[in-house]
Symmetry: D2
Subunit: 337 residues, 4 copies
C-alpha cells in the first residue's frame, strides 16, 4: 500500500464536504483522489475547491478504481448499507457515516461482508474522538472511578431540523439519540441490555404530527450491572448542550461543554461566560479531524478501527428498543442481541 491512503469520497453534501475538506487540509496521510455525488455539480465544485483529481456522478467509478484504498460513505442513509457491501466486495476500507441503516436486515449483511472481505470499517461516531469525552472514557477504562454505577448523558441540539428531515429521519432515537447510545457503550465499556424511554413533544407540535417526539429521557441497564440515563431535546436555545458524567465506586468524572473562549466578563449587569459552541460542526470540529486521522492510520497500519461495524449495529438495536418503549409509554424493552 502507498504511504498515503488514497481515498474516494462518496457524497458531496454537508458531511461529504466536511470530510473531504478535512482529509485534504488536515489529515497528513490522506490523499483524496476522487469524489462522487448523484448531483454531479456538487462533486465537481468540491473537487475544484480542494484540487481533487476526479469527480463523478456514479460512485461505482470510485469502487472500480484499483488505485483507491478506501472510501468515505457520506451519501444518504438509505444507501449506506448497499454501498458498504459493494465497497467491501471491491476490497476497499470503509468509513461509513452513521447510521449504517435503520433496518437490521440491511445492517447484518454489512457486518458479514466486511468480515468476509477483511477490510477496515469505521462508523462515524465522531464524539468518541472529542478530547473531553475521550479523557472521561480513558479514566473510566483505567479504573479511575472503580466499578461503573451510573452513566449520564445530556445531549440537546440547538434547534430542531426541518420538518421534511424529521419525517424521513427514522425518529429521534435512531437519528439523534443514536450518538448517545454509542456514547454510553463507549463510556460504560458494557452492552445495553434493556431500555425504557419517555418522550414527549414540547418544542414544536408539528414534530408530534409527524409522529416523532422532541424531548425525551431514556433509562438504560447495562450487562455489567450499571444503569444509565440520557436526556435529549431538539432545542436548547443557548446552544449545543453536550455533557457527560460517569459515576462509580471510587469516584465520578464529568465533561462539560466547549466554548469559543474561556473569558469571564464582569459588569454592573452581571457576570457572564461564553455560551456552548453552537452545533456539532463547531463543537466536534477537532473530533472530526481526529476520527478521520484515526481511520487513515488504522488502514495504513492494519490495526483495528476504534468504532467498527459491530459498533454501528448496537446503537441501532438500542434505538429500536427505545422507540418501542416510548411508543408503549415507557415500559422496559429488552435490547435484541
Amino acid at each position: 500500500m502507498s504511504k498515503k491512503l488514497r481515498i474516494g469520497v462518496i457524497g458531496a453534501g454537508r458531511i461529504g464536504k466536511l470530510h473531504s475538506a478535512n482529509l485534504v487540509n488536515r489529515v497528513p496521510n490522506a490523499e483524496v483522489v476522487a469524489i462522487s455525488d448523484v448531483y454531479e455539480p456538487a462533486a465537481k465544485a468540491q473537487a475544484e475547491l480542494l484540487g481533487i483529481a476526479n469527480y463523478y456522478s456514479d460512485y461505482h467509478k470510485i469502487l472500480e478504481d484499483p488505485t483507491i484504498d478506501a472510501v468515505f460513505i457520506c451519501s444518504s442513509t438509505d444507501t449506506h448499507s448497499p454501498i458498504s457491501i459493494e465497497a467491501a466486495k471491491a476490497g476497499k476500507h470503509i468509513f461509513c457515516e452513521k447510521p449504517i441503516d435503520h433496518d437490521l436486515d440491511k445492517i447484518r449483511p454489512v457486518l458479514e461482508e466486511v468480515k468476509k472481505a477483511g477490510v477496515r470499517y469505521q462508523v462515524g461516531f465522531n464524539r468518541r474522538f472529542d478530547r473531553n469525552f475521550k479523557h472521561v472514557h480513558d479514566v473510566v477504562a483505567n479504573g479511575g472511578i472503580g466499578d461503573v454505577h451510573i452513566v449520564k448523558v445530556t445531549s440537546r441540539d440547538p434547534e430542531p431540523p426541518s420538518l421534511d428531515y424529521v419525517k424521513v429521519s427514522g425518529g429521534i432515537f435512531v437519528d439523534m439519540t443514536i450518538h448517545d447510545f454509542d456514547m454510553v457503550r463507549y463510556l460504560s465499556g458494557s452492552e445495553v441490555t434493556e431500555v425504557s424511554a419517555v418522550g414527549t413533544c414540547l418544542v414544536n407540535p408539528a414534530i408530534a404530527e409527524a409522529g416523532d417526539v422532541d424531548t425525551c429521557i431514556i433509562t438504560l441497564k447495562f450487562e455489567n450491572g450499571a444503569i444509565g440515563v440520557i436526556d435529549n431535546s431538539r432545542q436548547a436555545v443557548y446552544g449545543y448542550d453536550q455533557r457527560i458524567e460517569v459515576f462509580g465506586s471510587k469516584g465520578c468524572i464529568t465533561a462539560d461543554n466547549e466554548t469559543a473562549n474561556n473569558t469571564t466578563y464582569y459588569t454592573a449587569d452581571g457576570v457572564s461566560k461564553e455560551k456552548p459552541l453552537w452545533f456539532f460542526l463547531e463543537r466536534y470540529n477537532e473530533a472530526f479531524i481526529t476520527e478521520e486521522t484515526a481511520f487513515v492510520e488504522a488502514c495504513l497500519n492494519g490495526t483495528e478501527t476504534v468504532v467498527g461495524a459491530f459498533d454501528g449495529l448496537q446503537p441501532v438495536l438500542i434505538a429500536i428498543a427505545a422507540k418501542e418503549s416510548c411508543e408503549k409509554g415507557g415500559v422496559p424493552v429488552k435490547v435484541m442481541k
Copy 2:
C-alpha cells in the same frame, strides 16, 4: 401571641439536637421552653447545654403546656403522624420532620386534623431553603427559563446508613429519594403523575439482602407536560453530591455542590478544588436555620408555611409509586391522587 414563638422540641436525637440548638442560637424570634425524649437523659443533657427551662420523657407535658405555641416533632418516624394529630388537637403549630409517615392511612388524617385545627404545619424539607436551590426555583417560577421541559436531580449520599437503619427505613425511595421528590415538585411547580424506577444494589450486597436498592434512576412525568429524572446512590466516596438542573423553552439553570472554600490549588501533580461538603449537616447547615426561621415567622405572622402538610403527602405518594415500579422492573406506575 407573644413576640417570640414559644417552642417545645419533641425528640433529642440527632435532628432534635440540631433543631433545638439552631432555635436557641440562631433563630432570633424563637424561644425553646421545653424538650422531651423517651430517653430522658438525652432531653436533660440538651436542656442543660442550651439553657432550656424544662425537659421531659413524655411529650404530652409539652402538648399540655398552654404557654407553648409550637412544637418541633423530631421523634422516630412512626410517631410523626400520631403526635401531629395530638399537637393539632392541642392547637399547637407544628414543624414535623420528614416523612409524616410511610403509610397513607396515617398521613391523610394528619392533613384533616391540621386543616380542622387551623394550625401552621411545616414538613422538614430543608433543601427548599438551600440558597442555590431556592434561586433556581425562583428563576424558574419567574419564567426565566420559559416552560419547563426537563427537571434533573443528582442526589447521592457520601455513605450508606447502617444496615439496622436500612431495615426500618421503608426503603430508599421513601427514606432518601423523598427529598428529591419534594425537590422536583418545588422546581417544576407541578405535580408528578407517573414514575418509572430502575434500582439495583451496587454499593453493598447486604442492602439487597435487606430488600432494598442502593443505586437508582427514576423517570418522572409531570402534570404540566414536563419530564424529569432523579439519580441516587447511597455512596459517593467524594462526598454529598447534590446538584439540580431545570431546562426549558427559554434556557436552563443549574446549581452545583457547596464546598468548604473556593480556592484553587496548582502543583506539579495537578490542579485541585475542594470536595463537596461531606453530608447534609454541613451542606444544609444554613438551610436548616432558614427553614426554622421561616416556620417561626409564619407562625408569628399568621402566614402560610412554604412546605405544608399537603407537601408532606405528595412525595410519599410518589415514593410508593416508585417502589412499585422498581419492584416490577421499571414499568411506569401512576401516582395516586
Copy 3:
C-alpha cells in the same frame, strides 16, 4: 473569669452595631453587658434592640465597671489609641477596629501599654478570618506551595466613600489598602521591607481635589525575598472584588470572590453567574463572626490573639511608605522598623 466573656462595646455606629449584634446573636461565649456612644440615643437604641443591660454616652462607665472583662473599640479612628491605652490600664482585654491610628506616635504607646498590662489585644483585620483566605494562608504556612515567590492581592470596593469621608480618611493607603497590607503579611508570613506605589485618580476627579488617589498599584518586597503586588480601585461596578494568589517554588494557590449562590444560568443571550457579593458586610459576614469568636476564646482561654497590637502597627508603617512613594511618583521607599 466567668465562663462567658463580659463585654462592653464602645461606639454604636455602623461597625459598633455589627459587632454588638454578632456578639449577642452569634458568639456563644460572649455576653454584652454595656454599650456606649457619644450620641447616647444610638447606644440606647442598640441596647434595646439587643437586650443589652446598660448604655452610656461616656465610655469611661464601661472601663470603670469591674465586672466587664473586655471592650470592643468601635468609635472614631482618632479615639482608638487613647481608649486603647485607658482600657489597657483598666485591665480590659481589647478588640480595636482598624487602624489603631494613622500616627505612629500614637500607636507605639498603645503597644507599650498593652504589653505592660498583659491584656489581650486584637485589631479588626477581619479578612484573615475569611474561610477562603484562611485556607490559602494555611496551605502556604504548611509549605504547600514551597517557598513564597509572589503574593498578589486584588482589592476593589464597589463604590467610593463620600467625599467628606475621603477628606478625613488619611488617604487610600491608610484607609483601604491597610487591609491588603495586613493580608500580604498574613499570606507571606514575612515583613514588608520596601514598597513602591503608583496611584492615580480615574474614578472621580473630586477625590484628586481632596488630595487622594482612587486607583493604585503597590509593589512590595518582603524580608524573606518574596515580592508582591496589590491593586486597588475605589469603584468596581460589579461589586466588591477581593481575590488573592500566592505563588511559590512548588505551586500556586488562589482564592476567588464569594457569590450569593453558585447557579449557572443559560439563555439565548448568554451564560451568566452571580456577581461578587456587594461589599464587606456581605462578603465578610461570617468572617466578622469568626474574628469575634476568636477574640472571645483567646480572652477566655488566655491564648494569644491571631492579630495582635504589633499587627496593628505594621500595616500603618507600610501605608506611610506607600503614601510617600506614591507622592514621589513611584520611587521605592523603605518601610520603617
Copy 4:
C-alpha cells in the same frame, strides 16, 4: 501576485520548523517553496519532511528568487534586523520572529527600510492571536469595560531555559517579558510611558550569576492614564501560566489558562481539574496558525498586518526601561519615544 503566497522560510530551528510545518499543513493560501538554514542538513530534513522544493544553507538564495513573495525570518535574533533590511530591499513581505533586535540602533533602520519598500511586516507576537486574549482585546476595544483603569498580566514559564540561553538572551525583560509588553499595549490600546520593575532571583541562583533575574513584577503607566502590572516567573511547576485581566470604569474581563480538556474528576482524595497546557507550543498552537494565516492574508490582500514593525519596536523600548529600573532597584524610568 499568485493566488497562493509563495514563501521562503529562513531558519530551520525550533520556531522555523513550527512555522514551515504550519504553513504547509494548516495555512490554505500559503505555499512554502524554499527553506534555508546555516546548518544545511536541518534545512534539508525539513524540506524532505514537508515536501518543500528547495533548501539552502544561504538565505540569500531565497531573497534572490523572484518567484518568492514573502519570507519568514526564524533565524537567530542577531540576524533578524539585517535580514529584515535585505528582504525589504528585495521587495519581500516579511514575517519576523520577536524581537527584531535588542539594540534600538538596529531596529530603527528596519522600520525605515520597511516603510521605504512598502512591504508588509509582521512581528511574531503570537499571543495576540490567542482566542481568549483576542476576545478580551475586542471587548475592551469595543468599550465593553468603559475606560481602561488597570491592566494585569500573569506570565510564567513552566521551566527556565538553559543557562547558555540565559546568558545570550538579553535578560528576562527583552527575552520573556517582551511578549507581555506587547500584550499590555494590545489590551490597553495605549502606549506605555513609564515603568518600574522589581526583580529577584528565586528559581535558580545561577541565573543571578549570569546577571539576570527569574522573578519580577513590573508596574506600568499608560498614555491614556491607565496603570498596569505584569508578574513573571521563569518556573511555574504546574505549567505555563498565562492569564490576563483588564479592569475599567464599566467592568472587568479576564482570560484564564487553557487545558487539555475540561473534565472534573472527583475521588475520595479530592476534586481535580487539568493543569494548564505545558508551554507555548501547546498553549499557542492554534494562535501560531492564526497569526500565520493573518500574515498570508494581509500579504495577499494588501491590507495592514495586525502587528507591524512599529509594534516590534515599542516592546523593546519598554524592556530597556524595565531593565534600567530593575537595575536601579525599582525607580520609575520613562520609556523612550
